[in-house]
Symmetry: C2
Amino acid sequence: MIIRIDLQSETPIYLQLSNQIIENMANGNLKPGEEVPSIRSLAADLGINIHTVNKAYSLLKQKGLLTMHNSRGIVATRSHTEEDEKNMSSVKKALRPIIAESICYGFANIQLKKIVDELYKDIKGGKINE
Amino acid sequence: MIIRIDLQSETPIYLQLSNQIIENMANGNLKPGEEVPSIRSLAADLGINIHTVNKAYSLLKQKGLLTMHNSRGIVATRSHTEEDEKNMSSVKKALRPIIAESICYGFANIQLKKIVDELYKDIKGGKINE
DNA sequence: CAAATGATATATTATATATATAACATTTGT
DNA sequence: ACAAATGTTATATATATAATATATCATTTG
């Protein structure tokens, strides 16, 4: 799993980290059941603090995407279908202001869905660019 | 233009404010060329500080959605088509992590585009909920 | 000329982010 | 039994962001 942190970015490190782990889960680089690097080892590899990694992992745990096993490592998880409603409302809440902004920019509904379609395929394709 | 600030929210006030102004521009409550409340009056109405309103307005100005006229008020703006590329890349950058997260939740491409479609119509419809 | 405007400056408080150590209980491998 | 590695938690420090309180300035409007 490739992770790259930009210390100059205005996006907090723990968010960059959790976002990139999510991308790795989305494109299949990190599959459900597979182990994630330990907090200490990842912090050492990236040259950042343990607590920063811990914060990112806690966020993913809260989203139901990671499961901590008592002193035995951390494993990628796919949240259950019972949580679909919760996940759905979380996604909608995040999407809403972006879609509103797109409307202000004059982007049509079809145009916006085309962008979503492209991003969806691009992420699943496994590109980690931007 | 109706604006409601939640002081308990974890979303910063200036972001709540700019997001709601954007929604009002998206649903037609605030049309291009129309005046926006002055910084002082809006701050007084909402019971928040001048600088917080100023920060929200500056953000919208930076997005090309507001234009300040020297000591003569602030006006809603539709950013020009020449900036489409910039706006597009801005929207994509914001959308990417949310779509990746949706994929982790097991949401299909069609399902996601349906959500976008619903939100698009809901925002244009003018609902200001949650 | 007074009033209102956006812009700017300084200061203070509170919260968020990131780091540095340290310690704890649990699990794993020897 | 023991050492090593794990996730968890606690404390402390430094910096950045968010929000507030005053205040001043040039410009525009009535």
